[in-house]
């Protein structure tokens, strides 16, 4: 198991694989919608594109109770320190999905004279999965979460023993 917070102190062998499986299938996201992508995140959690069937439907409002931060929306300069503080408040192991073009690279608000935004969440916090789109469809977010599950377990969705490039 590798998270961006570093190598674990103790390697538990086969138990780690079971733990990773449990963590991947029960991700608890944080309600961290900043702008338009937040609505698509809400739609992904609603009845049609149910996130709960992948185990990721329990949206917790407090960062101390969740392990997945979906940065959905543009990060303004004023909001930057708040994003870092929320990330630091999450307990390890934790993962970050950058949802939408604004969280990946500034999106439509990146232009030569810009002053107002941080062009990308990965300038502030380590990001595991990038979901492009403006806004990405809820199916795109679901694909991002499934990709994150593959990353956590290190195996494909069909549980075949194949290399998943890190």
């Amino acid at each position: 198991m590798e998270t961006k917070t570093g190598e674990p102190l103790i390697h538990l062998g086969v138990l780690e694989e079971a733990l990773n499986l449990a963590r991947a299938n029960s991700l608890w996201p944080m309600t961290f919608g900043l702008a338009c992508c937040a609505i698509e995140m809400m739609a992904a959690g609603a009845a049609r594109f149910d996130l709960d069937r992948f185990g990721a439907g329990v949206f917790r409002p407090s960062p101390r109770q969740c392990d997945l931060m979906i940065v959905a929306g543009t990060i303004s300069r004023k909001m930057g320190p708040a994003v870092v503080r929320l990330y630091e408040q999450m307990p390890a192991p934790k993962w970050v999905i950058a949802m939408g073009n604004c969280a990946i690279s500034g999106g439509p608000f990146y232009y030569p004279d810009m002053y107002a935004i941080v062009p990308g969440a990965d300038l502030l916090i380590p990001v595991d999965v990038y979901v492009p789109g403006c806004p990405p469809r809820p199916e795109g977010l679901i694909e991002g979460i499934l990709l994150l599950e593959e990353k956590i377990t290190g195996r494909g969705r069909l549980r075949k023993f194949r290399d998943v490039a890190q």
Binding site: R77, K78, G106, M114, Y115, P119, L123
Partner: protein, 150 residues
């Protein structure tokens, strides 16, 4: 008729210009130009007539700022635009004691242009971070920090 009432009431204030506008071209029924010191009186007259403050903004020109106020009325459509020319480095009078809704609009103009309002109860930045040191909507503006800083 509201347009006539407004024209009469504003005509008593000795303003630079009070003229009907071309609605189908500019969207305004009445065009007014005032000096900065006359603006609180204009606002008082508009409030007495029951108009609400639709919008308050500024435009940056090489030698001066132009404050643009839009007023409208809920019962009878009559949009009034007031242009106020403020020299650079001068302060404009506030109208937030007459229209409390102008409080945030004036803070926004201060934040984006650096135009101060004399008499404003709480003139601080509203959109940019408090420690920002530039006013973005001034023309020929260069960002003071590189975008990659966090």
């Amino acid at each position: 008729m509201l347009l006539n009432d407004l024209t009469q009431a504003l005509g008593r204030l000795n303003l630079a210009k009070v003229a009907p506008g071309e609605y189908h071209k500019s969207g305004c029924h009445l065009e007014v130009e005032a000096a900065p010191a006359q603006m609180p009186e204009v606002a008082r007259v508009m409030l007495e007539q029951g108009c609400f403050l639709e919008s308050l903004t500024a435009v940056d020109f090489p030698e001066h700022f132009t404050l643009v106020y839009h007023f409208n009325h809920f019962r009878e459509l009559c949009r009034t635009v007031v242009h106020v020319r403020v020299p650079k480095e001068a302060a404009a009078p506030t109208i937030s004691h007459i229209y409390p809704g102008a409080n945030w609009y004036e803070r926004e103009v201060y934040d984006l242009f650096g135009l101060t309002f004399a008499g404003h109860p709480d003139l601080r930045r509203i959109l940019l971070p408090f420690e920002a040191d530039f006013h973005p909507l001034r023309k020929k503006f260069a960002p003071s920090e590189t975008p990659a800083d966090a």
